[in-house]
């Protein structure tokens, strides 16, 4: 990855302020290999204003979820914390303690500066607005 394109962290919340570019430590964090990577299920739907991406991330919180935009790749990463208290003995485990990861390639039609994200009840919604040039396709014809 070139240093010329620092990754952008998308702030969580309904605010539409453009994300501040930051090339800090969080950008290059790699989870240890011992933890399994969980691919969360997602829905993507198209609307007149842009795309909405929804991901099921049970157990993820605003503190442990990182959404990054690097070049044209949007990635979601969340490091889960142990849900059971110390000393709890697992009897049956279907949901391993791991790290969520999923990435997407964005088209040039997405306005990267206006991407917003919201996390509620384990569901992440990322709104990817269409860039103006992708929205306005009508060309005036002068006579």
């Amino acid at each position: 990855m070139s240093e010329a394109h620092p990754s952008i962290r998308v702030p969580l919340g309904p605010s539409s302020t453009p994300p501040a570019p930051s090339g800090d430590a969080a950008a290059g964090e790699v989870p240890p290999l011992a933890r399994p990577t969980i691919t969360p299920p997602i829905d993507i739907h198209d609307g007149p204003e842009g795309l909405t991406l929804e991901a099921d991330l049970p157990g993820a919180t605003e503190e442990n979820l990182i959404i990054q935009l690097e070049h044209n790749v949007l990635s979601l990463d969340a490091r889960l914390v142990a849900p059971a208290p110390e000393g709890a003995r697992p009897i049956h485990q279907e949901f391993p303690l791991g790290d969520y990861h999923r990435s997407f390639i964005l088209s040039d039609d997405v306005d990267r500066e206006r991407i917003t994200a919201e996390l509620k009840n384990g569901v992440l919604k990322v709104f990817l607005p269409k860039a103006d040039r992708a929205r306005a396709r009508r060309i005036e014809i002068k006579s």
């Binding site: 909405t52 929804e54 099921d56 697992p90 009840n121």
Partner: protein
């Protein structure tokens, strides 16, 4: 007090769990969400034993915990409800992986628990069910009436 006891094993429930597990093992994990609309999906469940009791965690993102029905009968805990579809109607959907619609899971209770003291709460899309151990049985003195 509702207490699971031997001899009341609901075979139907266990059989369903068994076939679900078989299905999970042999089905390709690529499309876990695409179950037929009528068939309830099975959210993942973790069960832990703690010094205080049994702890059950159910992954239910996007589900209001207060609308989940939790019942216990014959030593089996049943967790069921419906996950509403939260996106726009189908025509605008492009890609869908997340399960919606009815869901049900059944968890056999292997240890004795005090169902009257059971508590459940939802947080970050995870439903936590706490089933405490029954209070230690107090030695009981039986009064003898004379007269």
């Amino acid at each position: 007090m509702n207490r699971p006891h031997e001899g009341a094993i609901p075979f139907q429930a266990l059989e369903r769990e068994f076939f679900r597990l078989i299905k999970d093992v042999f089905q390709a994990p690529a499309e876990p969400a695409l179950t037929p609309a009528d068939e309830p999906f099975a959210p993942p469940v973790d069960v832990f034993e703690t010094p205080e009791g049994t702890l059950i965690l159910v992954d239910l993102p996007g589900v209001d915990a207060s609308r989940v029905e939790i019942t216990a009968e014959g030593g089996v805990l049943t967790i069921k409800g419906t996950r509403p579809a939260d996106g726009p109607a189908d025509p605008s959907r492009r890609h869908r992986e997340r399960p919606t619609g009815p869901f049900v899971r059944q968890v056999p209770l292997t240890r004795e628990v005090d169902l009257d003291a059971a508590r459940a709460e939802g947080r970050d899309g995870v439903l936590t069910i706490r089933l405490p151990r029954p209070p230690a049985r107090q030695p009981r003195t039986i009064p003898i009436r004379t007269g």
